[in-house]
């Protein structure tokens, strides 16, 4: 058994800093509890703010200090993202329960334990595994203490005192534990005063005492914990299980007025989502971002409580940069009805598949992916309805024979891939360019169409376009159709020529009882 403990010494402070806007994260911050400073970040410590100071003293030292209280639920969500990241390295991941049972309030756990004995060979040894683990945890932005030891509790205790500890050898671990301060042991914390008074400073001091006496004076739990840390007693751990759906929330410290601020907060939620996806080799197909708004904004009861915003991907993805670009383009188009207080990210629709191969040279597959991403990006910024495809419909009426519809990125790229893999040497059907004759029986249609005929002026009942007379070259071609859907057309079409030689397609409506005013109309141009 080889356990790696990932301890986050500044978890509460960092999870608080994540709720701040980007610019405020470098300002002095501190967490307080019962009017005393509990922890402070580096800019605050430079100003002299230290844990243990009174609130008033700290504010006198640093007037711009941002104060907040630790939030166990907030810390728990941040820690679960770390645990999810760890699950990509081993299936045995446990969260070390917090043992600082000081008073009624239970502190949040801040240590994740990984059993990595089975993964060492795959990742190429302990050192490279630890390096990759650290690299995977970088996006979450926590300061890390890493310790490895043969027992779970031993690793967890040593990670609290050492920022980096390597104790593969049980003897090394035992010596390090002997030198560790005695307050590390959870149940001993309640007897901290008594232990101090007895002159016990390290765990070695405690181990020297007779066991029966220690058990009577303190408790059997203290001894049990000591035994588990040293590996004398068994220490079974229950591995965490990934939730089937991802759900994470971020309560913003300051309300977000612009989508840019929302996007900044969403970046952290996306990092958590990617950790959850990476743990199960999955890619997200769609996810939902819920922005909870400030209630009673401007006393307007019409303001919705929250804005729900769904992003569906054409191709399942786990790429943070790509997801963030899509979110940025979509959010930029969104008008927020009220300032946002809280963000929630929810994802349940995922696809499990093998990770993509990295390729050195472009292949049809990578080209298809690039094309998909391009179309997705365009759709995200411009809107789905502006990325269009044409389709030919069997209808004689020219304005109804072509349908413009939003493009389906998957379909375009699938057809594209099919053509690419198909024989490129297929004889081109339209290669007989030498023919000077349009194919017989085919009615020639102009490329550019007006959806509604443009009325033309007439001179001596002869059509004029832009004041110039049109010369009819070919026709008439009668189109009489559409009695069934109440859009009857009765037209005689002609190909006509402008004096400069350009060809246009015009029609004359038939003079019938239903259409008292016949006339010439422009329908299209031969582009």
């Amino acid at each position: 058994m080889l356990w790696v403990a990932v301890h986050l010494p500044l978890l509460s402070l960092e999870s608080f800093a994540a709720t701040l806007p980007a610019a405020a994260a470098d300002q002095p911050l501190a967490l307080i509890d019962a009017h005393r400073i509990v922890s402070a970040n580096a800019p605050a410590q430079q100003l002299g703010v230290k844990p243990g100071l009174k609130r008033a003293t700290a504010l006198a030292l640093a007037p711009h200090l941002t104060l907040a209280q630790a939030d166990a639920r907030r810390d728990e969500e941040a820690l679960s993202a770390v645990a999810h990241t760890a699950l990509a390295f081993t299936p045995n991941v446990a969260i070390q329960p917090a043992n600082d049972a000081v008073g009624a309030e239970q502190a949040a756990p801040d240590t994740v334990l990984l059993e990595v004995q089975g993964s060492l060979r795959y990742f190429g040894g302990l050192q490279s595994l630890l390096q990759r683990l650290q690299r995977a945890l970088v996006p979450l932005g926590h300061r890390l203490h890493l310790a490895n030891a043969p027992t779970a509790l031993g690793a967890a205790l040593l990670a609290r005192v050492h920022s980096r500890f390597d104790g593969v050898d049980p003897m090394v671990m035992q010596r390090a534990l002997d030198a560790a301060p005695v307050w590390l042991l959870g149940p001993g914390r309640a007897h901290w005063e008594a232990l101090q008074g007895m002159g016990l400073r390290t765990l070695a001091d405690l181990r020297c005492l007779p066991r029966s006496g220690v058990a009577r004076r303190f408790s059997a739990a203290l001894l049990d914990e000591l035994d588990r840390a040293y590996g004398v007693a068994p220490d079974p751990r229950v591995s965490i299980v990934l939730p089937p759906a991802f759900e994470s929330r971020l309560e913003l410290f300051t309300r977000a007025d612009t989508t840019e601020q929302v996007l900044y907060g969403t970046g952290l939620l996306l990092d958590r989502l990617i950790a959850w996806l990476a743990a199960q080799h999955a890619f997200v197909c769609r996810f939902t971002l819920v922005m909870q708004h400030e209630p009673r904004w401007r006393r307007d009861s019409q303001t919705p409580r929250e804005t729900t915003f769904e992003l569906a991907l054409a191709e399942p993805s786990r790429d943070r940069a790509h997801l963030l670009v899509l979110l940025r383009e979509r959010l930029a188009r969104l008008v927020l009805p009220a300032p946002t207080l809280e963000l929630r990210l929810h994802a349940a629709d995922i696809a499990r598949r093998a990770p993509p191969n990295t390729e050195l040279f472009p292949t049809p597959r990578s080209e298809r992916e690039g094309l998909l991403r391009l179309i997705e990006r365009l759709q995200a910024r411009l809107g789905h309805e502006r990325v269009q495809c044409l389709a030919a419909v069997d209808d004689h009426r020219p304005e109804l024979a072509t349908v413009v519809r939003p493009a389906d990125a998957q379909a375009v790229c699938r057809a594209h891939a099919a053509v690419t893999t198909g024989s490129t040497a297929a004889a081109s059907p339209a290669d007989d360019d030498d023919s000077t004759e349009p194919a017989p029986g085919v009615k020639v249609r102009p490329v550019w169409l007006l959806n509604e005929g443009e009325p033309l002026h007439e001179r001596d009942s002869w059509p004029l376009l832009e004041g110039q007379p049109l010369q009819l070259l070919s026709g008439p071609e009668r189109i009489e159709s559409g009695w069934w859907d109440m859009r009857l057309v009765e037209r005689d079409y002609f190909i006509a020529q402008l004096p400069d030689g350009a060809l246009v397609w015009i029609y004359r409506t038939r003079q019938l009882a239903s259409n008292p005013r016949p006339g010439w109309f422009l329908q299209g141009r031969f582009g």
């Binding site: 690039g370 094309l371 391009l374 179309i375 990006r377 365009l378 910024r381 411009l382 502006r386 990325v387 269009q388 495809c389 044409l390 389709a391 030919a392 020219p398 304005e399 024979a401 072509t402 349908v403 413009v404 939003p406 375009v412 594209h416 053509v419 490129t424 081109s428 059907p429 339209a430 000077t436 004759e437 349009p438 020639v444 249609r445 102009p446 490329v447 550019w448 169409l449 007006l450 959806n451 443009e454 376009l465 010369q471 070259l473 070919s474 026709g475 008439p476 190909i495 020529q497 402008l498 004096p499 400069d500 030689g501 350009a502 060809l503 246009v504 299209g524 141009r525 031969f526 582009g527």
Partner: protein
Amino acid sequence: MDLLPPAATASPPRLAPPPARDQPLRRVLREAPHTLHPTLWLGHQMGRQADTTCASGFAALDAQLPGGGWPRRVLSELLLRQPGIGEIRLLSPCLTAIQRSGRLVMLFDPPATLSAWALAQLGFDVEQLLLINTRTAQLPPGRPEAVARPLGGRARSDRGLSSEALPSGDSLWALEQALKSGHVGAVLAWLPPRLRAERLRRLQLAAHAHDGPAFVLREMTAAERPTAAPLRLALRPAGADALGVRLLKRRGPPLETPLRLALPPVLSSSVREHVRARFDQGAAALQGATFINLASLL
């Protein structure tokens, strides 16, 4: 030192020996400057394209284009007074060849509705065309609404639609993304009028990553201003099923006489012959022609 061959010790190795060492540099420059660097050419010579080109499908045009076809990785500017003079038929041989090779053709902001049937007649695979339409709202399928377009004879105000149109920055952004991605086979874009030169320059830079021809269609008045695109053509109708092409800018000597290209035909040959005879007689003759016996033509 003993391990090296004697030649290596005698003279340091060169990566590329200078061409025709014995000739004076002036002579090389005069006759074949491209041997010094592929992008060097003389004013009276035709420039060479570093990349292969796409055949335009018109032999007369290919002969006048540097490299023998539409260039890749750069913008090709086509100036025309108005859509609908044969520009799609001019480009269709090149674009359909790209589609047949399995690459995507994207159209940006077409100035009017395209007819799927007409494109299919020109040899396009209509399903494999992607349209980016930022100027007008999408037409509901099956119920097309009236679209005010520059296509119409009368200048119709499209104020009513301008509220639905996205800012022109969005359309340029989309075009730039498509060029930059390098995954699109060919791009055909109708640029907004009075485009600033630096914006076109930006597109030209983005086109370096685009492995295929990129056509931008602009209004005729843009000819008065310089362009970043290395190829610039002015298109003008020249009779039925014919197109006059003037090469305003190319990597090569200026071309005085405009080309006259026979486009893929719309009219049957008998009608075309008839019209051509009349067209060549001049516009005055056309003015007088108010009656044709259609029955005799068809």
